[in-house]
Amino acid sequence: MSTPTQGNVPLLEARAIDKVYPDGTVALEGVDFTVLTGEVHGLLGENGAGKTTLTKILSGLLAQTSGQVFWRGQAANFKTPLDALRQGIGMVHQHFALVNPFTALENIALGQEGGNGLSSVDHGKIEQRLRRVMVEGGLDAPLDVPVELLPVGVQQRIEILKLLYRDVKLLILDEPTAVLTPQEADDLFVALRKFKDTGKTIVFITHKLREVLELTDKITVLRRGKQEGSVVTSSVDSKQLATLMVGHEVIPGVERSQTQVGKVVLSVKDLEVKNDLNDMAVRKLSFEVRQGEIFGIAGVEGNGQTELGEAISGLRAWEGGRVQLDGRPEEQLDPQSIYAQGLAHIPEDRRRVGMVLEFSVMENSILGLQSSPRFRGAFGRLDWNKVRKNAAELIEQFDVKAQGLNTVVSSLSGGNQQKLVVGRELGKNPKFILAAQPTRGLDIGATQYIRDLLMALRGEGIAILLISAELDEIFQLADRVGVIYEGQFMGVYPTEALNRERIGLLMGGMESEVGQTV
């Protein structure tokens, strides 16, 4: 449980913060955020809520478009992270800023060596001070081992020690438990409580309800760039938080035609997939998708859905379990054969994975199909005439607005790019579509177009796996929903059985009373 905070002195105050990116995206709108000295303040929200953006502004990485930040009562304008650090604000990011072959000591000393460039690094003095900091903070870490050999939990401790060594007053942690084992997470909480006792102030970003309730004194909830509320932890329960987090709009009655749900197309059993950090991101997941249904996977990003999608589509190896597509087992890491089995993949990152930005519309229209006999000519050559014909039909059918087939794809709008990708994938006449964040970053028109398209495909009997961070989309499109949290399903429910509050709870890691798995 949380202990009472000391004093009512706002340490950090942000007023009416706006952040608008050059391309027009509004990340934050009129956000107020106040942190009192000595409190543990949780920043809660789902994807795209703006938590990371806000803290980047507070720690000097980004500049706000408008609004003011006050540090210790005075107007502050941090131009660089170093600026903020010197004032006493430090942030531990999700991706650590550590130099791998360096030891912990060297990493912490970097930038703080004292003196000019040519002075020798006084290992002794640094170590002395560091050990003092370690004792004070109750954190332990081996100081002379290259950090790349250390477990992630220890690396995180070193990142924190870096900040403590520099005497930070405010410590911001961005989803710190995302990379930790449960044991390491508990150790972290113990350490954080100890910091609080020594007078440090902590901002803790998370989407996990249990954590935020357990650890914090105060919680601020962000949603879609706006501040939804700032509450004292002891006065709320998880349901209220969940509602703040995901909103409480009434879901418009979605008219969904009753389709004939057919046989199983995709069967996933006990799937285990590792992420890039070599941790298990997907833990024994099992589910099925049938013809004519849309199976939605909801959840805050970073809970394993990306790795799941990559594994099913042949872009990532899996460690254990079985995946069957159309009755036949999938080959690992072989997209071509998986496509041949009838899978189409609308990737999460269309710019990096789904297209080659420097290629033209025509060239991108055959990405994945370049070896197909459909486009072969004499001597084994690529027959561009056939490709052109196909591409022209594609952009006509899917309303891709481009100046011509030879236009470089990077000059298309996001919506048109995605329509091109979708059209191309559907041109494979798939039995199964993996749609990962299909409307991310798109304008309203393109978004609606693609959602209508997916519904239509469902009507034609195609099996669709929809991975989406957009709850509206899940509710609109999915027949059944699996909420993923820390690599496992919190449960699989028919969509009608869920409302925002329930799904918010599940996304935040809390069990719901409606525990019926379908």
Binding site: P81, L82, V99, E106, A109, L110, G111, G117, V121
Partner: protein
Amino acid sequence: MIPLALVAMGEVLAERAGVVNIGLEGILLISAFTGTVGAFSFHNAWVGMLIGTLTGLLIGYIHGVISLYLKGDQIISGVAINLFAMGFVAFGIIVVWGVHGAFNLPLEDSLKGWTVLLPPATAGGDQRFVGKISVLLPFTFLMAGFIWWVLEKTAFGLRVKAVGENPEAADVAGIRVERVRLIAVLIGAALGGLAGAYLSVDWNGMITKDISAGRGFIALATVVFSKLNPLLTLLGAFVFGLFDNVGLWLSTNAWANRIGLNYFIRMLPYVVTLLVVAGVIGRARFPKAIGQPYRRE
């Protein structure tokens, strides 16, 4: 061995910071030329050495600006420097002295007269097995030690390594990435310039239009061979120089000549480097961010 070692240890510093300089060959050549011009014009070998060093510094600066600030490709910039050097030096020899291809420095202007005679013949990589050591030899050893000390023991060295390994982390720690890299490149290029001047003003006492003889590229191999450790560049330079000389000596030996052994001996250093790089002989670990311009997201 001296020029090779100097160039190699300088490049070690630059590569630890993440910058590759393929143009070392060009730097050697141009500095050899300008060093000769300097020694000749001022009738002072030391001035020549200084000018050679400064030339290296200048070229290093150009390479640095193109690769680091203009975000051009480091490899292409290096290749361009080499091309330029080949033409510029040959052209320069003609233009300055009116002779083609080579020019001999008057003895009093070169450092050849400064070499110290030692009773036992000490080659130091010198092609003629005469007993003399250049003044620069102890300097070379000291320099290797100095660079090692800088890398391992000083704050600057820490930053260099950080910048080469993970420039984002260094940036977050408040280090000016391009600036550190530029300094490392400048030091490396200056050493290259010194080595070039040594080649002409000291060792050979003359400038020829191809005096560098591929040493710039051999230095790149030496850097790999020494696993980016400045102390080991001494060993690497010695080994490479040794093989070269053995090969040369073998070409005068009748038996070896008959089976053409000298060709294979001279091939050996490069094969060895390939093996080193392939990890067959030890493992050379290159800084993760080497060769890539740093762009803050």
